[in-house]
Amino acid sequence: MATRLMFENSCEVGVFSKLTNAYCLVAIGGSESFYSTFEAELADVFPVVKTSIGGTRIIGRLCAGNKNGLLLPHTTTDQELQHLRNSLPDQVVVQRIEERLSALGNCIACNDHVALTHTDLDRETEEMIADVLGVEVFRQTIAGNILVGSYCSFSNRGGLVHPHTSIEDLDELSTLLQVPLVAGTVNRGSEVIAAGLTVNDWTAFCGSDTTATELSVIESVFKLREAQPSALVDEMRKSLIDSYV
């Protein structure tokens, strides 16, 4: 299910949080309601960790990660690095990388299998991504924008990209990523998808300006509605029951 929320009057939830299938990072300093909205959805599944990166709150745009690992920019302090290593599950590899383009969240978009990266990323960084995150890396642009991490957001089940992406690009990306993609907006027409939305395989959080139409597109492309237990049973019923007497 998709939840609408705000961080201190800003609807850019994807800037102040990072959600994956194994953990969730949240910026410090927001109101308690921001943190508790995440906790309410996720606390019984995995840790919701409060952190800063390089002393800033824009953690969603500075780091990139999935269930296998987390990549941090060189601006991360030692204390922050240690805090994250301690708080995250053991199977998540936390790595700080030396990359000139330090806003990793803007440069890298990934799920658990594939990553799209900024075209100017170092070769070394690309190898690190493949290694730490356990993904296949593709250098791509989205609707002519090199900041792929900002203009698209995808999980293992679907993805949302910049509204001006052409049909051909959509098809090409969809083949690369092996998930269905839809071009759309978030937060009442904002094109910066990843800033307004953070998503994993069963839940999504978006800014409170997001209209009902945008929300329904998000829920349908990321298949969040089917993440209800009842939906699963309905699907199974057809195969379990042969005929009604």
Binding site: E8, N9, C11, R188
Partner: protein
């Protein structure tokens, strides 16, 4: 000054007014408008002069719904860091096309607003969630007893006579734009008292007083470092120069410390001041 329907009003004012905008070299009597270097906000539409001088033309528009994102960013810290219905507030401003101005740059593809100026009748919009939250917030932060009584009156019984003056802009907007911008606002208010279709609407623009919420810097007592000429004598630094004039003219005002920004230099606390004047 001719007063056509709302849409044309903007155009007529622009071409007839020799004193103001668009500020470009063809205007008589106005020196060529120069902006030093700080052009990151404007994007790609200026030409760079030989001394790093940038020329820019600004255009005044009526508010329209497409300006939502830009105006929202400008008003982000309007009520400090309180969580309130800012989106609703911006919608209210943009819906009022008769009074209100959005400043944009000519030929800018991005169409980003550089400034928003408007006056909202507190009584007309009193049922909107954002206005209720705004009133609650101001009543909550007002620490001065003599002012709070007046403030409560303003927000309550006298609300239909009060105009909330909203004026926000990017920090480096050229000051030459300010006189025509404010003239435009007050002109529009007086035109609205005659041009609006219903009597109720016409009356809603007969403001007896204005309320202004704005950000200033106040010097901390413990800091004795002085910057020459930059303070208003009583230790206040006005971010927007017209605020100093408004403050002098105001009947009363109060200030309260902000939480949203922590500045660690001489002016250690940013304070928001609320004015009132006739």
């Amino acid at each position: 000054m001719p007063r056509g329907p709302t849409r044309d009003k903007r155009r007529t004012y622009k071409s007839k007014d020799q004193k103001g905008f668009p500020l470009s070299s063809k205007d008589k009597g106005i020196p060529k408008h120069t902006l030093e270097g700080k052009s990151d906000l404007s994007g790609s539409s200026e030409e760079e002069g030989s001394e790093g001088v940038v020329q820019a033309d600004f255009v005044f528009f009526d508010p329209k719904p497409d300006d939502f994102h830009g105006v929202k960013i400008l008003l982000q810290t309007y009520l400090d860091d309180t969580q309130w219905d800012l989106s609703g507030f911006v919608d209210l401003i943009l819906a009022q096309t008769t009074v209100g101005t959005v400043v944009k740059m000519e030929g800018d593809d991005d169409d980003t607003p550089f400034s928003i100026v408007t006056a909202l009748n507190l009584g007309r919009y009193k049922d909107h969630k954002c206005i209720k939250e705004l009133k609650e917030f101001l009543l909550k932060v007002c620490q001065e007893k003599d002012v709070i009584r007046d403030l409560r009156l303003l927000m309550g019984e006298q609300a239909h006579d009060v105009g909330l003056l909203v004026s926000q802009r990017v920090v480096n907007l050229p000051p030459q734009l300010l006189p025509p911008l404010h003239d435009a606002l007050f002109d529009e208010v007086s035109w609205a008292t005659e041009d609006e279709p219903t009597a109720e609407l016409r009356n809603s623009f007969r403001f007896k007083c204005y309320l202004l919420v704005s950000k200033i810097y106040k010097k901390n007592n413990r800091n004795l470092i002085r910057r020459s000429g930059s303070d208003g004598g009583d230790g206040i630094v006005y971010i927007k120069p017209e605020d100093e004039n408004f403050h002098k003219l105001s009947l009363w005002s109060f200030s309260f410390p902000m939480h949203a920004q922590q500045v660690e230099t001489q002016e250690a606390s940013n304070i928001v001041v609320c004015f009132f004047w006739f």
